[in-house]
């Protein structure tokens, strides 16, 4: 298998390097670098800030073999800047009328316990690939993203065993130039914690502690706009 392929990781989280999207995407990137893939990471939010950066983003995307897009679920679908990126890529393709050769993989994570919340976001990514002539390689969907919250997978122990299994399988698929396997999708969608109740209980405690630190505890249930 040739090892001169170029992969770009697009991080769609405004939290950038501190995001779960970055952790998941970079795990795969590291595996690919070991196989001498040429890799690059771009943060969508900062890349959209100026015309020159937007052009740079489009140029880079034109010259890669695989786009690995990792983002958090926002209001049931893609964060606005990721949609903007899709719009820009589609306009660029339509102007240049070039045939696409790029492949696309998407990884979505959400703060709800059920990974299934992400299904419409992945469907949108697939539609984008179809419409722009890219090859859809598949999508991964992670629930309970709050339990990772930008922390290194190596520090999270057994909780992320299935996440790592999934990312390892995806890395192998990329190396072999194959589609993402059903097994990889299944592993990623498995809950990180044994029960929804435990996850939401811990989440609620975390919100309360953070509000307490910000002296906002008594305002947690405020309704300021009425």
């Amino acid at each position: 298998m040739n090892n001169t392929r170029k992969v770009i990781l697009l991080i769609g989280s405004p939290r950038g390097v501190y995001s779960t999207s970055s952790v998941l995407g970079n795990y795969i990137l590291k595996k690919l670098e070991e196989q001498n893939f040429k890799t690059e990471v771009l943060h969508i939010h900062s890349q959209l800030k100026s015309q020159s950066k937007r052009e740079q983003l489009l140029d880079k995307i034109e010259n890669v073999d695989l786009i690995l897009l990792a983002f958090p679920l926002y209001v049931d679908t893609l964060p606005a800047p990721v949609i903007r990126t899709f719009e820009l890529i589609a306009e660029n393709i339509s102007e240049k009328q070039q045939e696409r050769t790029q492949k696309l993989i998407a990884i979505v994570n959400c703060g709800f316990p059920e990974a299934s919340h992400n299904r419409y976001a992945l469907a949108t990514c697939e539609q984008f690939a179809l419409e722009t002539g890219m090859q859809w390689i598949g999508g991964l969907s992670l629930g309970m993203g709050g339990a990772i919250s930008g922390k290194s997978l190596d520090k999270l122990g057994g909780m992320v065993t299935n996440v790592k299994k999934s990312l390892d399988l995806v890395s192998e698929s990329i190396i072999k130039d194959e589609k993402i396997s059903e097994k990889a999708i299944e592993y990623m969608a498995k809950p990180l914690l044994p029960s929804k109740w435990l996850y939401t209980f811990m989440g609620s405690i975390s919100w309360r502690i953070q509000a307490l630190k910000n002296k906002a505890y008594s305002k947690l249930n405020d309704t300021p706009f009425i």
């Binding site: 939290r15 939010h45 926002y74 209001v75 893609l78 899709f86 919340h117 419409y120 919100w207 706009f225």
Partner: protein
């Protein structure tokens, strides 16, 4: 009753203008007080994912821009209309940047809805949602995706009702008017 139209037009080419005019006319015929926001004209920053609207200033986004005004109008309306070109089965960037900033309207805490976890409501009442998508050619998968997305948004925003439809561009005015009328009937029936 109050209605808010969030017009997700991509730019100043006014491709959604005729839809907006028909919606306003039909809403006014039904005695709605209508507010319209053409989103690309307003200064609305992208959500930065800081959760400050939940843990620093609960209920209020920490970014002080036009999204505050939209959030105020949003929660004080009976009906929100998402008017948008259909972009890969979803919303335009212009519409989504505003919707991402409506997170302060819900609570960080969790609630189970039909066996699935969602965020709890912050307010006692929320508006119904009417999704109106426009696309140049009919694409079944994208139309279904758009309708699913409106349904999902209505669950997460605790809307009492929702309805949606995708219109293919270049249909005549009568066809659009009839379609919007039917949609408003569907939303109103359940609101009453």
């Amino acid at each position: 009753m109050k209605a808010l139209i969030l017009n997700g037009e991509k730019d100043n080419k006014a491709s959604l203008n005729k839809y907006s005019k028909i919606i306003i006319k039909e809403l006014e015929n039904r005695d709605y007080e209508v507010n319209t926001v053409i989103l690309y004209e307003e200064k609305i920053a992208d959500c930065i994912g800081c959760f400050g609207c939940w843990i620093k200033k609960p209920g209020i986004c920490v970014i002080d821009d036009y999204a505050h005004k939209i959030a105020t109008m949003f929660i004080n309306s009976d009906l929100i209309i998402y008017l948008t070109p259909v972009v890969f089965g979803g919303y335009s960037y212009q519409l989504k940047k505003a919707l991402d900033r409506m997170i302060p309207l819900i609570s960080p805490f969790f609630i189970k809805v039909d066996g699935e976890i969602h965020h709890k409501p912050r307010y006692k009442e929320y508006p119904s949602i009417l999704g109106i998508g426009v696309m140049s050619e009919f694409e079944k998968e994208q139309v279904e995706l758009f309708n699913d997305l409106i349904k999902r948004n209505s669950i997460n925003l605790h809307s009492p009702n929702y309805a949606s439809e995708v219109f293919v561009k270049n249909k005549d005015i009568d066809h659009i008017q009839q379609g919007i009328n039917n949609l408003l009937n569907r939303v109103s029936d359940k609101n009453e």
